[in-house]
Symmetry: C2
Subunit: 415 residues, 2 copies
């Protein structure tokens, strides 16, 4: 066996990023109604000012503010109503001295007018005139054209996820079709003779395949697409054949399983052979996650990953490496970690980074107790049930000696 | 016009909840691969202990721990290897004194053995014997049957969202089909003669319809389903007809538009008439969000909502009322708000609750500066672009006088 060095998380990430640079992301044009949750592949600019016209933010009368000077309840000002502007229609007449026009909320303010008087401060008179009971300053309740968005202004940047508010921004600027990133095609090969499908009862020594499901859900959650999902027997020929076939039709090939040394070696050798020596990471200095293999098949333009067989380890590695990589490639901002106070002492694993799932709990009602506690979720064997109750994880550095109770930690989200 | 009182957010929420109690949620059975992101409608229990058998967490030899007492590098213990347990297969032979069996990670530990010696602490001898260089305590590297999950134990509770780790838990217990909540059917009517579709250029006085898009995306984001999306002219007959038709085929009817008083009244009257007097909220003591109408059509079993025309107000009301309602009905935990320090003074609106979008920013690198700042996003007209840059919102109570800089606030997520 070759003497192989493990990579730190950061070293492995940088090698992955370098490989990914050889694989330009595809984009696709989507109608707005089909683009929710997708990531913008371009900056979106407004072709027009928003609003496109001067617009009232109240129901009332568009006036020349100077005309209302000194108006009060007892000494109102009388103005002639020369137009009733209808919502959705242009204002047609110019407001001269002594004149005004009724304008509903959102309606267009006529030329000449420079302020709005709310209808509550007016009284209709003979149908042609209105009494104004309050003076208004210049610009009152007037939204200027372009006040929200200037013509040509970027309203959403590349890398923005189209969530509800962003969908509204796209609608506002008329982006009925948008350019978004096409999902990476992911194929998952699950190896291990002990694995049975989820709908089978495991016999003695057997367990159900978990990683196919956690990894599928995780890839979909990130916005990737699953093109293959298959169990492969622990047989060198079958594994190589499956890797070859899947690597040709996906961007990211995940081979899950291989927590025992023998199987890890077989997976590594198969991945390395098929990619023409493309394996660049032979282990991660991460707990859990050590038996991780990473590489790049330059011929097929596919990133290859042999993930640990242990479900928590596989999900952790996928989240910490591929979640971050996908967000970086698509220009997404990394989610801000949440600061919290550690509720217990926690030892570190010397020489490797440690990822610990934590639950967040409110600090309680004590004085100033508006903060959060981080409660580590530890389980002897670290089954996936442990992580299913987590709000996120903390990452202890390889040089860190541990975390003391009450120390502030940063809690990151898995997804 | 009737003298109508506005409801507080909490009052309106309780009325909505009371109405929703008349509408039992539907559930549906989904295959696991189609259930990602859905909400469990039942507790999921494990029919079996997990692991189902005693299992090794390392590659090595299953031994009787007593046999290794005193073993060191210089004075090893010699044991007979009576079996090589293959992964996925039962262990067949009982380990008696002086015997051991090879077991790979995840493999079944034979009867009689009570600990594992890692392969690193052993040396093979003649093919039938192995030298053990370290003593191991009882139970070392042994995962007991049922240690992760006991038979009959609830592994996921009703109301849990099926995220990646949860998908793994379901796979582990063989839940290949799960009972999840069926989405509420939502129909959106957008009223307003000034509105043009997103793919049209607005003429003078016109604007593009934004609310249809923010509300669709928001409802989908919560896990609801959109069954109708339609613009209706500002015409009483057309509005009533559309409300009647849509209310018959949805669980939640959103009528968007009506920020001007006249239009609000027309919407309220139409909703009230069609629901047989079912409107119970005639305005919200919330900024933004005052012109909100809520009701229940008992005949059609449909919740009715007239949302403000202002896009930020409509999205805010939808998030604060219907996001919370949907989570409560489906048993979901409310997401924990994130504590942050206010980076500026902020005045409150007297007599009503105020919802202010904020951006979160790290406090910087000062001593102990691992916290977050909340930066309010204020815009004169509060266009949807303001909210598109927000990480969440803060909610000021109606009795609150404002927030001082450096005060700790709780930041909630819109979705």
């Amino acid at each position: 066996m070759k003497l192989l060095q493990v990579d730190t998380l950061q070293e492995a990430f940088e090698k992955l990023r370098e490989a990914a640079e050889e694989m330009p992301l595809r984009t696709e044009t989507k109608e707005l109604s089909r683009a929710f949750g997708r990531i913008l592949a371009e900056d979106v600019r407004s072709e027009e000012p928003i609003p496109a016209f001067r617009r009232s933010s109240v129901d009332g009368y568009a006036v020349r503010s100077a005309d209302t000077a000194g108006a009060t309840d007892s000494i109102p000002v009388f103005l002639e109503v020369i137009e009733e502007v209808a919502i959705g229609h242009p204002a047609l007449r110019r407001i001269g001295p002594g004149a005004c026009a009724y304008v509903p909320t959102g309606g267009m303010i006529p030329e000449g007018a420079d302020a709005m008087v709310m209808v509550e401060y007016t009284e209709p008179l003979d149908g042609r005139h209105v009494a104004v009971n309050a003076s208004v300053p210049y610009g009152k309740f007037v939204v200027e054209a372009g006040e929200d968005v200037k013509k040509g202004e970027t309203v959403l940047a590349r890398g923005t996820r189209i969530d509800p508010a962003q969908a509204g921004v796209l609608a506002a600027v008329g982006a009925s079709r948008v350019e978004v990133y096409a999902p990476w095609r992911v194929s998952i090969l699950s190896t291990g003779d002990e694995l049975v499908p989820v709908d089978c009862a495991p016999g003695p020594g057997q367990v159900r395949d978990i990683n196919t499901w956690t990894l599928s859900a995780a890839a979909l959650h990130l916005g990737m697409e699953i093109v293959g999902r298959q169990a492969v027997a622990d047989d060198e020929g079958a594994l190589e054949e499956a890797i070859c076939r899947e690597a040709s039709r996906c961007d990211l090939l995940l081979v899950s399983g291989g927590s025992s040394q023998g199987r890890k070696d077989a997976t590594m050798e198969a991945l390395d052979r098929i990619s023409g020596g493309g394996v660049f990471t032979h282990g991660l200095a991460l707990k859990p996650g050590k038996p991780t293999i990473l590489g790049y098949d330059a011929g097929r333009r596919t990133i290859l990953a042999g993930l640990p067989g242990h479900p928590v380890a596989a999900l952790t590695v996928f989240s910490l490496l591929f979640g971050r990589l996908w967000r970086e490639l698509t220009g997404q901002r990394e989610p801000l970690p949440v600061p919290a106070r550690m509720d217990t002492n926690l030892p570190a694993a010397p020489g490797k980074a440690t990822c610990v799932p934590v639950r967040l709990a409110p600090e309680g009602c004590g004085a100033g107790g508006t903060g959060l506690f981080a409660v580590p979720l530890l389980g002897k064997s670290g089954l996936i049930t442990t992580v299913s109750g987590a709000d996120g994880y903390i990452l202890m550095d390889r040089d860190q000696e541990g975390i003391r109770r009450d120390e502030t930690v940063l809690v990151y989200r898995y997804f």
